[in-house]
């Protein structure tokens, strides 16, 4: 292979004249995590609402929730990002459109909104599955005790459902970190974008991508371990995944 390796490249100053290449990659990591976290809050909020209304006894609400999920699941994330970034400012009233276009960090906000809604459809599926996995008696018992429907969701159904669906939510969170790389197409300088820029300026293709890959793996491992500890604390006793009780002798 006649490729010229140069691992010292990370300590050289990048074309922005103030950071080394390594620092630009770490800045990219910061933007990746910031995007993923902000989008995750949106996804949890809207996903929970959509998931809950799909389990209510009102057919029109269920249909609305289904339509929401189908809409955001069946359009590629990249196309959704383009719709938010290029199309939305054109079809809203002109003042709002101009304001949107002049927003500083527009690509960051767009990425957060696009990723948030895209992931919310997946979260909605999990929330719905979690609520459906509970025994029907829980809902009936809550209603029989005189709780209103919102109260039975808030105090009985959701607290259990969230604890049950924590493992799949963890993998959705890992997905949102990876999916944030799609925002490179609307100009967000997150980790993949920084690695790509580093490759273009320094021509050290494989060093740049190796570093980015390593950072993604480390983030992945850290999140996985943190969430596993969290899952262990919150696991519902008696369910698969909960710590096994020592058998009585």
């Amino acid at each position: 292979m006649n490729y010229h390796w140069n691992w010292g490249i990370f300590w050289q100053i990048s074309p922005d004249a103030s950071h080394t290449y390594l620092q630009t990659l770490l800045l990219g990591t910061f933007w990746t995590l910031a995007t993923a976290l902000a989008a995750w809050c949106l996804a949890l909020f809207f996903g929970s609402i959509a998931g809950v209304i799909r389990t209510t006894p009102f057919p029109w609400l269920v249909r609305l929730g289904n339509a929401y999920v189908e809409l955001f699941r069946n359009i590629p994330l990249l196309v959704q990002m383009f719709l938010w970034y290029f199309v939305l400012p054109e079809i809203v009233p002109e003042e709002i459109g101009t304001w949107l276009k002049q927003l500083p960090n527009a690509s960051f906000y767009t990425a957060v909104v696009a990723l948030g809604f895209y992931t919310s459809a997946r979260v909605a599926e999990q929330v719905r599955a979690g609520i459906m996995s509970l025994a029907q008696g829980q809902r009936l018992a809550a209603l029989a005790l005189g709780l209103t429907l919102p109260q039975s969701y808030a105090f009985v159904l959701l607290p259990m459902a969230y604890r049950i669906i924590l493992p799949p939510l963890t993998s959705e969170f890992l997905n949102i970190i990876k999916n944030s790389a799609v925002a490179i197409t609307i100009g967000l300088m997150e980790l993949t974008g920084r690695a790509r820029a580093m490759q273009e300026y320094s021509f050290q293709v494989f060093e740049a991508f190796t570093a980015a890959t390593m950072i993604y793996i480390v983030v992945n491992i850290v999140v996985t371990f943190a969430m596993r500890a969290f899952e262990k604390r919150l696991a519902v006793p008696g369910f698969i995944g909960a710590k096994q009780q020592a058998p009585a002798h």
Binding site: N74, I75, P76, I91, K178, T185, F209, Y216
Partner: protein
């Protein structure tokens, strides 16, 4: 809102969008699915072989692919495939690889990790007694897998495989980052040439939605029809 919506630009570019763009997208999806399932099944067999020499590299590969964004992998292989080609053919310098081959290699190798996990779940869903029974009948490992385990694993996992294929179909839009004229790339080129971003991106979204929606509906019907009553 739609007062200056130009439907004509969509009609004018239909041949380019579908003959060039959609053909690329669908061909890539089909080949990458086929390659991904074959390679993914091999990986699953390696992971389940019980031999650390085979299981560990396969597990490492799958975990690596699953922890890295697809966009980064597309870049990786775009630059790596010429060198791999050089190494394979023993050529003097990195060989020239077209956009189709480059993205086909990327998607096959990337999706293989996901197909591996699906096939692994499928193989593990087969009761162990069946393997024992096949061995008791004197069948070799290859015969057991080929005639007893894998056909059932495929059947059980068919809806999931189809769902993964739909995800793959949507993911192929990411070759946009290499400026390839897949369906979205074609739409984007027309959009930028004619300054018709709104029309072209909305149209692309509708097309992707219709295809994915119909396919996932098909997957649900298939799931109902292939479900084995136990």
């Amino acid at each position: 809102m739609f007062t200056n919506f130009d439907f004509d630009v969509i009609v004018r570019s239909l041949p380019f969008l579908f003959y060039t763009g959609m053909t690329f997208t669908l061909t890539l999806t089909a080949f990458a699915t086929a390659g991904g399932i074959v390679f993914g099944t091999l990986l699953a067999l390696m992971r389940l072989s019980g031999t650390p020499m085979l299981a560990l590299p396969a597990a490492g590969y799958v975990n690596l692919m699953r922890s890295v964004p697809l966009v980064l992998m597309i870049f990786w292989f775009y630059f790596l495939v010429p060198y791999i080609g050089q190494w394979l053919t023993g050529a003097e310098r990195p060989i020239l690889v077209g956009p189709f081959v480059s993205s086909l290699v990327t998607f096959t190798l990337f999706e293989a990790a996901y197909f591996c996990e699906i096939m692994r779940a499928g193989i593990q869903s087969i009761p162990r007694g069946q393997v024992s029974a096949a061995q008791a009948l004197g069948m070799s490992y290859a015969l057991t897998m080929g005639y007893v385990v894998l056909p059932q694993a495929f059947r059980n996992m068919l809806p999931v495989l189809l769902t993964q294929t739909i995800i793959l179909f949507q993911d192929t839009s990411l070759v946009y980052v290499l400026s390839i004229s897949d369906f979205l790339g074609a739409a984007s080129k027309v959009a930028q040439r004619d300054g018709r971003l709104v029309e072209m991106y909305l149209f692309a979204a509708v097309v992707y939605f219709v295809i994915s929606f119909a396919a996932s509906h098909g997957a649900r019907v298939l799931q109902r029809r292939t479900a084995i009553i136990r």
